[in-house]
Point group: C2
C-alpha cells in the first residue's frame, strides 16, 4: 500500500496529453466530488498557489504546477480527513525538488532495497506505464518536480540515454509531464571519448561542441528536459582532474551546453579523488569536499548547482551539517539526502527520516539552497518501497522539500490516514513508532556519532573494524583506553570548516551534544558524560536500551491492524530488525568490553 491507496484510480490513458492544470481539475473532480472548483492559471506564479473556499466551491489560482500542487494539497487533506483552511497561500521553499534514482540499465539498483528498477531491464527501457503513472502521481502529490532516472555511476549502456535512446526517454517524459515532473539523466563526463572526440577535456572546443550538439538534439525532442546530473572524479569516475582542470571548468562546460535550453547542470560534490591510508592521521576525509570546492566559490555558471550531501561523510545515521552547505555564498547549492536506507536499516529496520532532515534544516539558513534531491527508495516491489512503512520517507521528503518547517508528526499522521484505515488510537501508535524509529536504530548501532561500524560493501549489520583499516578514511581508532578522532582545532581541524556558532556548539566535549560527541572528539572510556555516566557505560546502556526498544517496536508493529499484504511484510521485517538489533547490541558491547575490560555497571550480559 502507499498513500495513494484512497485516491481514485488513474490510468495512463487518463493522463496522457493533459497539462498539469487539466490533471489538477481531473484529480479534484474525481477525489472531491462534493465540491465545485474554479481554477485560474496565473503563469507568473509558477509553482505557487492561492486557494480560497467560497461556500461549496474552491477557487484556486496558481502557475502551471502551482494549480497541480494546490489540487494535491486539497486532495491529501480531504482524503486524510485533515481540516482545510478557507484560505491558503503556498509556495515551495526550493525550486528544484528531485528524486535521484540510482537505477542501472541492467535492471539493478545501486543501494536499492525494493526490488529491481521500475524503468530498466536487460540494458533497455522496460516498464509498466501504469506504474510510471503511479510514480508520477506519488511525486506530484507531495510536490516533487524532477526525476533523475539513472545511476550517477553511469554504467553501460546508460551513456546512450541522451544520444541513442532519446525517443524512449521522450516517451517516458510524456507519462510524467502531466504531473509536472521533468526528466533528468546522469551523464558520463568521459562520454565524448567513447563517441570518437578523443578527449573529454572541458577546455577543448571540440568537447564543448560535442556536448552542445548533444544538448541541442535532446532538447529538440524533449523541450522541458531538466538537465544533467554529474558525478566526476569520485570512486573511479572520470572527471576534469584527468585533464588538470578544476571542477568549475568541468561543470561550466556542461552548463554552457544546457544554457540555451534553460537546462540545469547538477554537479555532485561527493569528491575524494585520493583514497586514504589508515596509517595517515593527518588526512581527515570529512574535510575533503570543503577543501575541493570552497575555493571555487563564485566561479560557476549561473545554471550550475552544486549538490552536496547533508553531512561530510556519506549518509550516516548521525552527522553534523556539511560545512560546504554553509560556506559558498556565491554559488547555487543543492542538498542531497538519501531515502534509500543504505546505512539506516536497508528497508528491513524501521527508520523514519523526517526528524533527521529537520535537525539539518535547523542548521541551514532558509535562503541557503536552491535545490533538494533525495536518492530514491522505490523499486519494482509490489509495494514500491520494500518495507511498506518506508513509503513515509518518500512522502515526508516531498512535504519537507516544499516546506522544511512541516512537523514530522503532521507528516506521519497525514501519511497514515491516507494509507490505512486506522482508529485514532492506532494512528497515534504508529505515529509514535515512526517517531521513535530513528533513535532506536541509532541506539543499537555505532555509538554517539562514531558511525561506520558496519559490514563493508553491504552496509547492513555490525562490523566494528569493518572499515577501520580500509581506504575510505573512516577510522575510529578505538584502543584499550579511548575511542574517536579529535576533529577540533587541536586535532584534524574539521571543526574549523564550520561557522563559529557550530564550532562553539561542538568544540568542547563537556558541552558538545552527546549524540555527536564521538564524531568530534577522542575520549577515554572513563569520560564523564553530562548526565554523570561514563562514556563506556553510556555505550552499554544505549545498546541494551536500543535492542530492548527494537523488541518493543516489533511487538508494537505486529499488533497494528495493517491490511494482510502489508502485515506479512512488516511482521517479517520486524523480526529481522529485532535479530539485527540484538546482534548489533552484542557485537558493539563485546567489542568495547574486550578493548576496555570494563564490565557493565548493571551486570547485564556482555559476551566475552
Amino acid at each position: 500500500m502507499n498513500w495513494l491507496s484512497k485516491f481514485p484510480p488513474l490510468s495512463p490513458s487518463d493522463i496522457l496529453g493533459l497539462t498539469p492544470p487539466e490533471l489538477a481539475k481531473h484529480e479534484l473532480c474525481s477525489a472531491m466530488p462534493q465540491y465545485g472548483f474554479q481554477l485560474t492559471l496565473a503563469p507568473g506564479m509558477d509553482e505557487s498557489f492561492v486557494m480560497d473556499r467560497v461556500g461549496g466551491t474552491w477557487i484556486l489560482t496558481g502557475g502551471e504546477n502551482g494549480l497541480l500542487y494546490a489540487a494535491y494539497s486539497l486532495v491529501r487533506a480531504s482524503l486524510s480527513g485533515t481540516a482545510l483552511p478557507d484560505h491558503l497561500e503556498s509556495r515551495p521553499r526550493y525550486s528544484l525538488r528531485m528524486m535521484n534514482c540510482w537505477d542501472n540499465m541492467d535492471g539493478s539498483i545501486e543501494r536499492g532495497y525494493a526490488g529491481r528498477s521500475l524503468f530498466f531491464e536487460g540494458g533497455a527501457f522496460s516498464y509498466d506505464p501504469s506504474r510510471i503513472v503511479c510514480l508520477g502521481r506519488m511525486m506530484a502529490s507531495v510536490g516533487l518536480n524532477i526525476l533523475c532516472l539513472n545511476n550517477v555511476n553511469v554504467h553501460e549502456p546508460a551513456q546512450e540515454l541522451i544520444s541513442e535512446m532519446i525517443p524512449e526517454l521522450s516517451a517516458l517524459a510524456d507519462l510524467l509531464r502531466p504531473f509536472g515532473v521533468r526528466l533528468m539523466t546522469s551523464v558520463d563526463f568521459s562520454m565524448p571519448i567513447r563517441s570518437g572526440v578523443g578527449s573529454a577535456d572541458p577546455l577543448s572546443p571540440e568537447v564543448q561542441t560535442w556536448w552542445n550538439e548533444i544538448a541541442d538534439r535532446l532538447y529538440e525532442e524533449i523541450p522541458d528536459f531538466a538537465g544533467f546530473l554529474v558525478k566526476a572524479d569520485s570512486e573511479g569516475r572520470p572527471g576534469p582532474f584527468t585533464y588538470g582542470r578544476s571542477h568549475a571548468e568541468g561543470a561550466n562546460m556542461l552548463a554552457r551546453a544546457l544554457q540555451p535550453h534553460g537546462g540545469t547542470l547538477i554537479w555532485r560534490c561527493f569528491v575524494y579523488n585520493c583514497l586514504q591510508d589508515w596509517r595517515d592521521t593527518s588526512t581527515d576525509r570529512p574535510k575533503a569536499a570543503y577543501e575541493t570546492y570552497q575555493p571555487l566559490d563564485g566561479q560557476f555558471e549561473k545554471n550550475v548547482i552544486l549538490q552536496i550531501k547533508n553531512g561530510p561523510w556519506d549518509f550516516q545515521v548521525r552527522e553534523p551539517v556539511s560545512p560546504l552547505l554553509l560556506s559558498m555564498n556565491q554559488t547555487a547549492l543543492g542538498l542531497e539526502l538519501q531515502l534509500a536506507q543504505e546505512y539506516t536499516g536497508q528497508q528491513i529496520d524501521l527508520y523514519a527520516m523526517p526528524p533527521m532532515w529537520q535537525e539539518l534544516f535547523q542548521d541551514l539558513p532558509s535562503d541557503r539552497i536552491q535545490a533538494i534531491a533525495a536518492v530514491s527508495n522505490f523499486g519494482r516491489d509490489e509495494n514500491y518501497f520494500g518495507h511498506p512503512l518506508a513509503a513515509v520517507n518518500f512522502f515526508g521528503f516531498g512535504l519537507l522539500a516544499w516546506n522544511p518547517e512541516t512537523k514530522p508528526e503532521e507528516i506521519y499522521q497525514q501519511w497514515i490516514r491516507l494509507t490505512y484505515q486506522f482508529s485514532r488510537e492506532n494512528t497515534d501508535l504508529l505515529t509514535s513508532a515512526l517517531a521513535s524509529s530513528r533513535r532506536i536504530y541509532e541506539q543499537y548501532t555505532a555509538p554517539l556519532g562514531l558511525n561506520w561500524m558496519v559490514n563493508p560493501h553491504v552496509h547492513y549489520g555490525p562490523n566494528p573494524l569493518g572499515y577501520e583499516f580500509d581506504v575510505w578514511g573512516t577510522y575510529h581508532r578505538a584502543n584499550r583506553e579511548a575511542v574517536g578522532v579529535d576533529r577540533t582545532a587541536d586535532g584534524t581541524g574539521f571543526l574549523l570548516q564550520l561557522p563559529k556558532h557550530l564550532q562553539e556548539r561542538y568544540g568542547n566535549p563537556k558541552t558538545c551534544p552527546d549524540l555527536l560527541l564521538l564524531f568530534f572528539h577522542r575520549l577515554p572510556y572513563s569520560f564523564v558524560m553530562k548526565d554523570g555516566r561514563t562514556l563506556i557505560q553510556r555505550i552499554y546502556d544505549d545498546h541494551f536500551e536500543g535492542a530492548a526498544r527494537a523488541c518493543a517496536l516489533a511487538d508494537h508493529l505486529k499488533h497494528l491492524p495493517f491490511p494482510p499484504e502489508d502485515r506479512e511484510v512488516i511482521s517479517e521485517r520486524a523480526d529481522r530488525q529485532l535479530k539485527n538489533a540484538e546482534n548489533w547490541r552484542d557485537t558493539i558491547n563485546t567489542f568495547f568490553y574486550r578493548l576496555s575490560g570494563i564490565p557493565d555497571a548493571k551486570g547485564r550480559k556482555i559476551y566475552d
Copy 2:
C-alpha cells in the same frame, strides 16, 4: 610460460584418436629424438611402469596410462637436464589424481585468479581446443588422470551437463582421452526435482531410477566417464538432510547408479549445515565434519569416496590434519587440496604449496587415502595461472600425488629447468624464493595458526575482526589479555578427535609447535614461547620479519632474468605483494597493540 615451454609443439590434430601409449611414443620420439624406444603394453600394470635403458634405447613396459607416465617422466628428465637412472620402476600412490575446477558455465570461476573459464562462456561450452590439449598435456605430464569440469556449487545451466549437454561433454572427453585424463562432473543432488520427479529423496525408488537412467545414457556416450562429485547440505546446497536421510544414504544412491559402469561417486565432506552464532562458545566448527561423518564409517558403497579437505577449517595457511582423514578405516577416502590461492595470496602473493602438503603427508599413513584432488588454479589467462610462478603448484601437486615423498626442492628445480633458461645460480635463487614463500606469507598474515583475519568474501588482505562476529564459526576471541580458542580437552575438545600421538604433540602449549599454537590454545599475550619471547613479541617479530622478507623476495624476483612476458607480470605482482605485506604487518600489529597496550620491545613503528 609453463613447464611445457621446452616440449615440442602438439596440436589437437596430433592427438585426436590416439591411445595413451601411442601418444607416449609420439611424445618420446619428438622430444628425445636421440634415443630409440621400445614400448610394451602390459594391461595388468595399469598406471605403473618399468623403464630400462639399454644403450641408446629405452625399453618401457607398463599399462595404458603407465606407458604415458613413463614417457613423460623421461621427457621431463631429459628436457630439464635431470640425470636419468638406467632402471626405474614407478607406480602412483593414489589411484585417482584429480583436478577439481570450480568453473561456472557463465564463464566465471569461483575463487579463480587466472581469468575466466577455459571451458565455458555465456552458459555454454566455449573453448579453444589447442588450450584443452595443453591442459591435458600439463595434467598427463605430471601424472594427473581426472578432470572434474564444473563448480561443486552447481549453478545454472551446469545441471544439464549430464543430460542435455552429453555430446559437448563427449567432444571434450575426446580431446583429453589421449592424455589418460577422464572427465568427471559436479552434480546437483536436487536435480531430479527440476526434472519432474518431484523429489530428490535418496530412498525414493523413482529417484534411484532417474539417476540410473541418467548414468546409463551418459556412459553410453562416454564409456570412460570418471563419475560424479557432489557437495550436498553445505552452504545452501540441497542434500539428503532435506529428506531426513544420512549422507551415506545420499551417496550410496548415486553410487549405485554409477556402479554398473565402473564410475566413482565422490562425496565432499565440507558439510556444516548449521551456521554458528559467535555468542555460542560450545560449538566449534572444526569439529563439525568429524561429528557428521565419523559415525557413518563402513556404511558407504564400495565406489564411494569421501573427499575431505586437508584441514578442519577451509584451506587456511596453517591447520592441523583433518581428524576425519585419520578416523574412517572402513571407508574409501580422498584428500582435497586447493591450488587456487583463495586464502594464500590469490596468485598475487607468491606461495609455493609443496612444503605445506608434505607436512600433511607426514601425518597421513600411506595407505590411508585412495584419491587426491586439488581445486584448480588455472584459467583463460595467457599464462594459465595468473602468476607465472603459480604454475609450480599445479606441477608440484601432480608429482606429489604420484609420490608424496618427492622433495619440494626437486620439484622446484625440475619445474624451473623446464620453464626457464636459467643459470644454475639463478635456478637456485628461484628455488630458494619458492621454498621461502609460504613461510613469508604466513609470517605477515594471521599469527601462529589463528587464521581467518582476512577481508570477508574476497579473502585477500587483513581484517582482524572480519569474521569475528560472523556466522562461520571462525572466532579468535582476542581481548586485552589473551587470544585464541582452547581446543584441548579443557576447551572445545576438538583435539580429542585426533589420534593420541597428535593429541600429545598439540595438547600442551609449552610443547605444541609454535606455528599451530593459537590454533589449539588460548593464551595471554605474556605467554612465554619456547625461545623465551612473549607471545605478543613473537607476533610483532613475525610481522616485521614477514614484511621485510616479502620486500627482499620482491627484490629477488625482480632481478631474475625471466622472459619479458613473465617478467612484467611477476614484477607487478611482487609490488602488490609487498604492499599487501606491509598492510598486513601494520594492521595485525596495530590490532594487537591497541588490544594489549604492550609496545614492541625493539621499538619499531607500530601505528596507534
